[in-house]
């Protein structure tokens, strides 16, 4: 069979319940958020170990904060990884499942590697009071190495997916098949680095945010915060510059036939990157002032780059006449409405939670909610109860109609 035909037959016969462009947009957006927190995770995990080993008052203090931040960042990275995991399987199912089953043992290994890495992160954060020796850093070091390994697996799966022409060779050996799933078959260094190097740039911006966020807290030393901000701004600039170089390396290693350098998505992404670099250069003088626009600008760049990554995928898979826009449709308005309304409601509620966290973190003592915050909280709870009421009502109506 022709690979193009195989891919068509592999597509799920159910079709998809809404227009592919919506799934694609959600996938790219959530992937951008995912990779941003992956970057925060790798960077804060690395720096927390570095600071711990380096010692000194500032680094020790920063190391503790970053170890705590890693536990939150990794949770967010996972959380935000779930959504693209879902959407990629909706529109790219033939590729996703083939790539995963070909390396099945690694796919399962990934879960255990993450569990171990995450647990060690907690050990490194929670248990540091009792142990002070340099040997204790080993927990943080192993955790970082495991996260990096997770990234290698993710990358290999994502890159295998783009090369259907090689799948049969990887799987079939003469008249028999390799069902062990123990090999990773593809790895592209510049692509991988393009997702990993930003960890240090983003963590630089993270430090700028840290300096900005705590600037009004009386219990934070001014000199310390200034040092954190400056260190962050320097890191952010240097690694963004390195990232630009890696980006071009990747670009030149792509198949020439793609002419990707004229692709509008790529051009927008690259332009955003250059603007960010200039912006970060200016940020050196006053990192605190540039922190919030800095993180917004960085996210915008990541978002642009994520669309470029998706455009690149369309190039790779276009070679087999595969386009998500030809996917069979079985539009389901009911469940689409369920998600969209829940999503909007969710943003309101998550907004409340984050607002409480934000305000309490900026207050030295106990934070007492203002009346408007209290109202927001009450509305959040009411919304949740309404949601349950509506869904249960719908369920009862359907059950009565179908079974009574």
């Amino acid at each position: 069979m022709e690979m193009g035909t195989i891919l068509k037959t592999l597509q799920d016969p159910m079709g998809i319940p809404f227009y592919p462009v919506v799934f694609q947009a959600l996938m790219v957006l959530t992937f951008a958020l995912h990779i941003m927190f992956v970057n925060f995770t790798l960077g804060t995990s690395f720096l927390s170990v570095y600071g711990y080993l380096k010692g000194g008052e500032n680094w020790t203090r920063l190391s503790r904060s970053l170890a705590k931040a890693t536990t939150v960042n990794i949770s967010m990275a996972m959380l935000l990884g779930v959504a693209p995991l879902l959407f990629v399987q909706v529109v790219y199912d033939p590729f996703w499942y083939a790539s995963n089953t070909l390396s099945a043992a690694w796919v399962m290994g990934f879960i255990f590697i993450m569990m171990l890495g995450y647990s060690l992160t907690y050990v490194f954060y929670l248990k540091r009071d009792h142990k002070t020796g340099g040997g204790f850093a080993i927990f943080g070091i192993i955790a970082f190495a495991l996260f990096l390994l997770s990234g290698i697996i993710m990358h290999a799966l994502g890159y295998q997916l783009l090369q259907p022409e090689k799948w049969l060779n990887w799987y079939i050996k003469g008249n028999t098949v390799d069902t062990s799933g123990t090999s990773l078959h593809a790895f592209q260094l510049p692509r991988f680095l393009h997702f990993i190097i930003p960890s240090f740039a983003m963590t630089g911006i993270f430090l700028m945010l840290y300096a900005w966020y705590f600037k009004n807290r009386a219990d934070f030393d001014k000199g310390y915060l200034e040092w954190v901000g400056k260190t962050g701004a320097k890191m952010a600039f240097i690694f963004t510059a390195i990232q630009a170089v890696v980006g071009f390396w990747w670009l030149f290693s792509l198949p020439a036939g793609f002419s990707f350098f004229t692709n509008p998505f790529f051009l927008i992404g690259a332009a955003l990157g250059i603007v960010l670099l200039v912006f970060l250069y200016n940020a050196q003088k006053d990192p605190v002032k540039y922190a919030v626009p800095g993180v917004l600008g960085a996210f915008l760049t990541i978002f642009g780059m994520s669309y470029a990554r998706e455009a690149l995928r369309m190039k790779y898979l276009g070679r087999f006449d595969y386009s998500i826009f030809n996917y069979k449709l079985n539009i389901d308005w009911g469940s689409t409405a369920l998600f969209l309304s829940t999503f909007v409601m969710g943003l309101l509620i998550i907004g409340y939670l984050l607002a409480v966290a934000y305000k309490s973190g900026r207050t030295s003592g106990e934070y007492v909610a203002t009346p408007s915050m209290n109202k927001w909280g009450k509305i959040s709870i009411a919304l949740l109860l309404c949601w349950i009421g509506i869904v249960a009502g719908l369920g009862i109506i359907i059950s009565v109609r179908n079974y009574l």
């Binding site: 016969p13 369920l338 409480v356 309490s360 109860l385």
Partner: protein, 445 residues
Amino acid sequence: MYPIWEVPNLTAGIILALIATFHILPSHFSTSAMWFNVYVETKAYRENRPELLEFIKRYSLLLLVFSYVLGSLSGIGIWYAATVANPRGISGLIHNYVWGWATEWVFFIIEVTGIFIYYYTLGKVDKKTHLKIGWIFAIGSWTTMVIIVGILSFMLSPGKWPETGNFFDGFFNQTYWSQLLMRTTLMFGISAAYAIAVATRIKNEDVKAFITKTASKWGIAGIILGSILLLWYLKTLPARPHELISILAPKTLKTGMIVTAGLLILYFIYAGMKPLSIRLIPAILAIVVIFGGIWSTERIREMIRKPYVISQYMYSNQIIGKAIPAKAVAAEANVINEKGILKVAPFVPEGLKEVNDANALQAGKMIARIECLSCHTLNERGLRPMPQMVKRLEFKKEVEKAKEVEEIEAFLDGLGGYPYMPPFMGTPAEKMALATYLDSLAIIK
């Protein structure tokens, strides 16, 4: 049909089952723990007993680390395991229920941000605000159960979905309510067992006694109500799985469930009477007992879904058994019987696409991998090992090999007659190849 992952002796399906079972401990804990927490926290504020907050702190740290490190990852692990064990099955679910899962994901974000903020702001924000966060978490995380039960129960009892193809017809199927209520009550039993374990680590005897006593009441109520609802759940099961319970479920599993419930009730009663005497080890043992009970139930649920992975639609071996006209999905038996499974499945060596005398054995093994591996290992040991299965049929040794093969072919013709196995699908030549392979297994010893 995607590439196949073979796990020697175990099958990929068992890996999935192990992770899924493990996941129940943290996930049911996460949906129920906060109810216990807000109850205790409210009491602490109303009766001015700040010492109770020590329990809150520890219990939520356990929740944070256990449920949101091991729990979320094992949840993702179930998904990954399903991906590599049964890609077409998970794909079928996702292509129907993607918005369901996306909705679940929204609540997942609420949960995770909620627990972090709940834990880290304890004592740092005013009481009312902190309780609000607790409530948001408690309701939000129970809602994840409201959603996932719809998808889980759909796999076993798809309701009117095979006719209408409608999302909500499958979601609110005939076992939805009984399963939701059963899990909801049982989860309180689970959170109670965890609460007692945490209480054993608390020095203050008043706090310890109060928590243990409260938990013992929650536990007894949860287990008793849960067991009653389990009976209701069994009644709501469609006829076919019902029949399979009596055929397939080993007695040990059933007794396992009853013994578990009995032991737990005794444990909770004892904990209520002598709250200070419970130590950490027995408290953990109680959680292990729960694990055993859940393992039994989940194994039974898994067994009675046979021969389907998605009931009334897709067989366990990923072949679409029944058409869903509402979604313009055709069944695959005709195409496979006409063209051959080795031709229809793309990931098959070129040299095996056409069966002949020389490659019959290899082709047969390939067919077994595609059509039988989801339920039988091809090794000597493990999950329903094929060699033992074939031996059990006691085909007689014949002078002529062809005669043996013929007998096995006759058995394959009747495969679909077993209530728990899908029919054999393929051309006559492929049937011969599979029979040759099965014959070779029976001879080895």
